[in-house]
C-alpha cells in the first residue's frame, strides 16, 4: 500500500470573478521512502496541492477527489482528527523561514510544541528531544539555539529550525514547499542535503515542491510537472530528464541557463501563465504551445504512457517527442 495516494484532487478557491480551480483533478502516489518532486511555475497550483494535503486551504477553499494516507481517506476526517495528522503524520517546511517562525517565541518553545502535542512528552522530555533534533539539523550548541529568538538567527539557521520542527514527530510524509527559494545560493545546497539526508535516514516519504529544475533533479526519485492546475508529465526523474515528453516540460528545461551555453540567448516560453479563474477549455498549455492544433483548444488530453512509469498528457506527444532536442542525452 502506498503511503500517500492522491486521486483526482481538485481545489477550488473563491475569487472575485467566481471560483477558480487552482488544482484540477491531479493524481499521484507516494511509496514509503520515495521522494516526489512537483515542479512548475508560480501559480501552477503546486503550493495549493501541498496545502490541500495538509488540510490547510485558505478560507472558502473547497476540495474534491480523495487523499488517502495509508489507505485512510483524510477527507473524511473531522478537524480534530486532522489536527492529529498535521505535524504528526504529515509535516511541512515552508518557503519563507523569515516569516514562518513566530517572532515573539523562542525557537525552543516553538519546537517543543508539536512534541508535547503529538508525542505527549512533558516539558523536560520535550526539551531533551528538542536538543537532539537541533543537533541533527546542524544547529550544534543546541542550548543557544533553543533559547534564541527567530530574529537572532540567519535565514539558513531558521530553515534548519523549521526542518527540526517538521521532523520532530517522525512524520511519514514530509512536504517541503520551495524550502530553499528564499535562501542565499551558498546555503541552498546545504539545506537540500540536510533534507535529503534526514529523509533517507528515517525512511520518510518526501514531496519536494520547487520551480527550480536543478533542485528537483538533485533530490527526488520521481518528478511531476504541473501546469495550470494539472500534472502534465510524471515519471522517474532519470526517465523524465532523459526524454522530456511534454512541450511544456521541454520549454521549462530550455529556459534553464546551462553552464557552457556561452552568449546564446536564453530560451523562454512565449506568453504568460493563464489566470486560474480563466483557464482555456482544452489543454491549458495550448495557447503557449508551438505545436498546438485546433483540437488542442477543445479536448482535454489524457495521461499517456511514454516510457517505463513515465506518462505525459498531450495530444501531440509524437510530434513533441520527435522534435525534442533537450534532455540529458542530447
Amino acid at each position: 500500500m502506498s503511503v500517500l495516494e492522491v486521486d483526482r484532487l481538485t481545489v477550488s478557491l473563491p475569487m472575485v470573478g467566481g471560483a477558480a480551480r487552482a488544482v484540477r483533478g491531479i493524481s499521484f502516489r507516494l511509496e514509503r521512502g520515495e521522494s516526489l518532486g512537483i515542479v512548475g511555475e508560480s501559480g501552477c497550483g503546486k503550493s495549493m496541492t501541498a496545502l490541500a494535503l495538509m488540510g490547510l486551504l485558505p478560507d472558502g477553499g473547497t476540495l474534491d477527489g480523495s487523499i488517502a494516507l495509508n489507505g485512510r481517506n483524510l477527507r473524511t476526517l473531522d478537524e480534530a482528527a486532522m489536527c492529529h495528522v498535521r505535524g504528526n503524520a504529515i509535516a511541512m517546511v515552508f518557503q519563507e523561514p523569515m516569516t514562518s517562525l513566530n517572532p515573539v517565541h523562542t525557537i525552543g518553545k516553538q519546537l517543543v510544541e508539536p512534541l508535547m502535542l503529538h508525542l505527549g512528552l512533558d516539558r523536560d522530555e520535550a526539551k531533551v528531544e528538542a536538543f537532539s533534533l537541533l543537533e541533527r539539523v546542524g544547529l550544534v550548541d543546541p542550548q543557544r539555539y533553543y533559547s534564541a529568538f527567530p530574529h537572532q538567527l540567519s535565514g539558513g539557521q531558521r530553515q534548519r529550525a523549521m526542518i527540526a520542527m517538521a521532523l520532530s514527530c517522525h512524520p511519514e510524509v514530509l512536504i517541503a514547499d520551495e524550502p530553499t527559494t528564499a535562501l542565499d545560493v551558498t546555503v541552498q545546497g546545504q539545506i537540500l542535503d540536510l533534507i535529503y539526508d534526514v529523509v533517507s535516514e528515517r525512511q520518510m516519504s518526501l514531496i519536494m515542491i520547487s520551480h527550480d529544475l536543478g533542485v528537483i533533479a538533485q533530490t527526488v526519485d520521481r518528478v511531476a510537472v504541473m501546469y495550470g492546475g494539472s500534472i502534465v508529465e510524471q515519471g522517474p526523474t532519470a526517465e523524465v530528464f532523459a526524454q522530456l515528453a511534454h512541450p511544456y516540460t521541454q520549454g521549462l528545461f530550455a529556459a534553464v541557463p546551462q553552464v557552457g551555453d556561452g552568449r546564446r540567448r536564453l530560451r523562454t516560453i512565449p506568453g504568460t501563465v493563464p489566470e486560474l479563474a480563466d483557464l482555456p477549455q482544452g489543454c491549458t498549455f495550448a495557447g503557449r504551445c508551438s505545436l498546438s492544433r485546433e483540437s488542442c483548444h477543445h479536448q482535454v488530453p489524457d495521461m499517456r504512457s511514454v516510457g517505463p512509469n513515465h506518462m505525459a498528457a498531450c495530444l501531440r506527444l509524437d510530434a513533441a517527442m520527435a522534435t525534442s532536442t533537450f534532455g540529458l542525452r542530447r
Binding site: 495538509m54 490547510l56 478537524e79 480534530a80 489536527c83 492529529h84 495528522v85 498535521r86 505535524g87 504528526n88 509535516a91 511541512m92 515552508f94 519563507e96 516569516t99 514562518s100 517562525l101 513566530n102 517572532p103 515573539v104 517565541h105 516553538q110 510544541e113 508539536p114 502535542l117 503529538h118 529568538f149 530574529h151 537572532q152 523549521m162 520542527m165
Partner: protein, 316 residues
C-alpha cells in the same frame, strides 16, 4: 535590554521635567501675578501683600520653580490656600479614590476590548463581527458623562440597584466602596473599550494572515490553540500602544466622571480648587495627573520590550 530601558527612562524623565515646566509657566508665570489671580483685582492691599509673601512671589521665578519641584519630589506639595492644610494630605485622600477607579476602568476596558476584538476577528464577516463593529462605532460617539447619566437613570432611578453617586469611603468596607465605583468604572470603560476592541480586531485579523500562524496550524495546533498561543501575543503589540494613549484619556475621563457621580477624587478636588481660585492645589493636581500619564506611558514602553523580543535585539 538595559540600554533600551535606560533610553526610555531618559525620555521619561525629560517628559516629566517638560511637563512640570509647562504647568509652572501656565499657572505661575502666565497669570502675571498669582496673588491677584487668587484674590481678584479689587483685593485689599495688605491681604495682597501678605499672600505674595506667603506664596513666595517676591523671589525670582527660577527659585520658585526649584523650591516647588524639590518640594514635590520630597512629598511637600505646599499649603492649600483655601483649606490651609498641606496639599499632600488632600491629594493622598483623593488618590485613594481616583487610582482604584482608573485601574478598575482600565481593567474592564482591556478585558472587554480584547474579548470582543478576538471574538469579532474569529467571526470575521459574520453577524458577531458586524455587531462588534456597530458597538465600536457607537461607543466612540457616546460621551462618557452622558453614558454615566444613562447608567444612573437605569440602575438608580428605575431599578434602584445603586445609589446615584457619592462614595462611602474605604472604611465603610470593601464591597460598599467598590459598589459605588462600579457604575463610574463602567461609564469610563465602555467608551474606551469600544475604541480598543476595534484596534484589537484589526490587529488580530492582520496577524492571522501571517506565515507563522500557518506554521502553527501545520504543526497540528487547533484553531483555538493557534489563536491563543501564536496570534494573541503578536496582535497585542499595537493594542498595547493604544492602551497607553488611552490611559491619558481615561484619567481625563475620571475628572468628568467623578463629577457625574459626585465622587470625592482628584477631579472633584481640582474643580473645587478652580472655584476657590486655589492655584496651589490646581498646580499640584495637574502636575500629578500629567505625571501619572507619563508614568503609564513609560510602563507601556517597558511592556513592549517584554512582549516583542525584537526590541531587545541590541542587548547581547
Amino acid at each position: 535590554m538595559s540600554l533600551f530601558i535606560a533610553k526610555r527612562f531618559a525620555t521619561f524623565v525629560a517628559t516629566l521635567f517638560g511637563a512640570s515646566v509647562v504647568v509652572f509657566l501656565i499657572l505661575e508665570i502666565l497669570p502675571g501675578d498669582p496673588a491677584y489671580a487668587i484674590l481678584g483685582a479689587d483685593a485689599d492691599p495688605s491681604a495682597y501683600q501678605a499672600l505674595r509673601k506667603e506664596l513666595g512671589l517676591d523671589e525670582p521665578a527660577l527659585d520658585r520653580y526649584l523650591s516647588w519641584i524639590s518640594g514635590v519630589l520630597t512629598g511637600d506639595f505646599g499649603i492649600s490656600y483655601t483649606y490651609s492644610v498641606p496639599v499632600s494630605e488632600l491629594v493622598v485622600e483623593r488618590l485613594a479614590l481616583t487610582v482604584p477607579l482608573a485601574v478598575i476602568a482600565m481593567a474592564m476596558t482591556v478585558i472587554v476590548a480584547i474579548g470582543l476584538g478576538l471574538y469579532a476577528a474569529a467571526h470575521h464577516n459574520k453577524v458577531g463581527d458586524w455587531g462588534v463593529m456597530v458597538f465600536s462605532q457607537l461607543g466612540i460617539a457616546v460621551p462618557n458623562f452622558w453614558f454615566g447619566i444613562l447608567l444612573i437613570l437605569l440602575f438608580s432611578v428605575y431599578l434602584g440597584w445603586f445609589s446615584s453617586g457619592g462614595f462611602p469611603g474605604w472604611d465603610a468596607g470593601l464591597w460598599p466602596a467598590l459598589k459605588s465605583l462600579l457604575l463610574p468604572a463602567v461609564a469610563l470603560a465602555t467608551v474606551q473599550a469600544a475604541i480598543l476592541a476595534r484596534v484589537t480586531r484589526s490587529s488580530v485579523l492582520e496577524t492571522i494572515g501571517e506565515d507563522y500562524v500557518r506554521t502553527a496550524r501545520a504543526k497540528g495546533l487547533t484553531r483555538a490553540a493557534t489563536l491563543w498561543r501564536h496570534v494573541l501575543r503578536n496582535a497585542l503589540i499595537p493594542v498595547v500602544t493604544i492602551m497607553g494613549l488611552q490611559f491619558a484619556n481615561l484619567l481625563a475621563g475620571t475628572i468628568v466622571i467623578e463629577n457625574v457621580f459626585f465622587l470625592p477624587g482628584l477631579g472633584r478636588l481640582v474643580f473645587q480648587a478652580i472655584a476657590n481660585r486655589d492655584l496651589v492645589v490646581v498646580k499640584d493636581v495637574v502636575l500629578l495627573l500629567a505625571a501619572m500619564v507619563v508614568v503609564v506611558n513609560f510602563v507601556v514602553d517597558i511592556a513592549y520590550a517584554i512582549i516583542d523580543p525584537r526590541l531587545r535585539a541590541h542587548d547581547a
